[in-house]
């Protein structure tokens, strides 16, 4: 059973973003949607999370799924500590254990009682990742969560993310315009065109993402190919 997006149409005013668009998303893997900025990737995520609705078409398999979301910005409540920010979205009576577990996975257990104002951008985004995984979701949607971070923080955050995902393999839909991120994180990569969106290319990268390196000849070759496609 997989998640199917079938024949959707979506326009904003006269601007068509999706026209008879279909996509199948495999479960329990990381699907990367790679495409130019402003092509409608966020719109697709927002339709999956039902924040907005398509003009027509169907999303199969999404209704019974619980969704968590990692945004471009951390979106933490400034008046709640790290711990409270995570337990805020949990329905459990005693969320303490779950919160501790995921804070440990993103290596923030010592910052549980800090307010977000006291954390760096990368730490805040790690809290957002912990929050998304702590939520008992089936699907995690990620909208370029690394966009505003510098190179080193990106690497760290990807490491955190891979670690937590190895431990808890949920269906992830990861949207990005950065080839490196897609190659390092994705199992299935979908290359999107400019709006109206079409899938120009679709390929699989086998093997655990923890051992991947952009330096390997295989990866370098793949990157070249993808860059060519995206031109």
């Amino acid at each position: 059973m997989s998640l199917k997006i079938s024949n959707i149409n979506k326009s904003f005013h006269d601007f068509t973003i999706y026209s008879d668009f279909s996509l199948e998303i495999p479960e329990h893997t990381i699907s990367c949607i790679l495409g130019p900025s402003g092509c409608g990737k966020t719109t697709l995520l927002n339709m999956m999370s039902k924040t907005i609705h398509p003009d027509s078409g169907h999303f199969y398999g999404f209704d019974e799924k619980i969704i968590s979301y990692i945004f471009q910005e951390p979106r933490l409540l400034p008046w709640k500590t790290v711990r409270e920010n995570i337990s805020f979205i949990l329905k459990d009576k005693e969320p303490g254990k779950i919160v501790d577990k995921y804070l440990q996975l993103v290596e923030l257990e010592n910052f549980a009682d800090f307010y977000p104002a006291k954390l760096s951008g990368g730490m805040k985004q790690r809290v957002a990742i912990a929050r998304a995984f702590a939520y008992p979701s089936d699907i995690i949607l990620m909208d370029e969560p690394l966009k505003t971070l510098d190179f080193k923080l990106k690497q760290n955050l990807m490491k955190s993310f891979r670690k937590i995902w190895q431990f808890d393999k949920r269906t992830v839909v990861f949207v990005t315009h950065d080839i490196d991120e897609a190659l390092l994180l994705g199992n299935d990569i979908f290359v999107f065109s400019k709006a109206p969106v079409q899938i120009i290319e679709q390929f699989k990268i086998n093997g655990s993402s923890t051992e991947r390196s952009l330096e390997s000849t295989e990866m370098a070759e793949l990157k070249k190919q993808v860059l060519k496609i995206m031109e």
Binding site: T51, I67, E73, P78, A117
Partner: protein, 250 residues
């Protein structure tokens, strides 16, 4: 930072000293206690007021009226402000009411209140009407300033509307509530005392100011004024302290 703070403190002191000097000079020129008593005499009068038999009742009554008026306007202001901030139709409904209250001269409200209410109620009613729009408007502004991204996040994580109001909207508007409360109090005390001057309840700063004015006891009028300023200042400090206690996340 500390240096600037100290420098400003010196400047403030100089400003107060200049004010007192001008007062002293003018009082020497007029040389009449009936027009302007000297600062020292006024100071002594103020100290003497504290030992007056009914002093506690007098300021107690005024403070009590202020607090009652404040609580009423606070509760209603926050409640209606939240509704109006979330629901634009309700805002459209509330807006003309707020504008009317705010632009009506306080004196008109008092004159009408004198006809409608019992003497003791008049200052409370006036306090309520002057404070309510401040708090309500600030809460509406606060709600409109709530980060929509946070609300969207909460919705995606399927947080109930009640929890969103309690844990997203309310904390977000807390600083706005405090700044509203602070300006409301500032105007509120003045309005209460005007109300007391005109309605003459048995106890109240305004009542005694009016009496002093009738007998041309200018030093007492000024002494009561000083007491009123002190009360207003005290409450300003209380509000600020409470705010520091509650808004700890900044």
């Amino acid at each position: 930072m500390k240096k600037i703070f100290q420098k400003n403190r010196i400047i403030t002191t100089i400003s107060i000293l200049i004010l007192l000097t001008i007062w002293k000079i003018v009082s020497i020129i007029y040389h009449s206690e009936l027009i302007l008593p000297s600062p020292e005499l006024t100071f002594l009068t103020t100290i003497k007021l504290f030992t007056t038999k009914d002093f506690i009742y007098i300021i107690g009554s005024t403070i009590f009226r202020g607090i009652i008026g404040f609580i009423l306007s606070f509760l209603l202001g926050v409640l209606l402000g939240i509704f109006a901030g979330i629901n634009s139709s309700f805002h459209a409904f509330l807006k003309p009411i707020l504008v009317t209250i705010r632009s009506t001269p306080v004196i008109s409200l008092i004159l009408l209140a004198l006809i409608w209410f019992k003497v003791d109620m008049v200052p409370v009613f006036i306090a309520f009407l002057t404070m309510f729009p401040f708090i309500c408007t600030n809460v509406i502004d606060g709600i409109r300033n709530v980060d929509h991204d946070l609300v969207e996040m909460a919705r995606i994580y399927k947080i109930s509307q009640i929890k969103i109001v309690k844990e997203v909207y309310l904390p977000a508007i807390t600083p706005f509530i405090f700044s509203g409360a602070s300006s409301a109090m500032g105007f509120g005390w003045r309005a209460i005392i005007i109300g007391e001057v005109l309605s003459q309840p048995r106890y109240g700063i305004g009542t005694f100011m009016q009496t002093a004015q009738t007998y041309l006891l200018v030093n007492q009028v000024i002494a009561w004024t000083i007491v009123a300023v002190l009360i207003s200042y005290l409450f300003e400090i209380i509000i600020r302290k409470i705010e520091q206690r509650i808004v700890i996340w900044k």
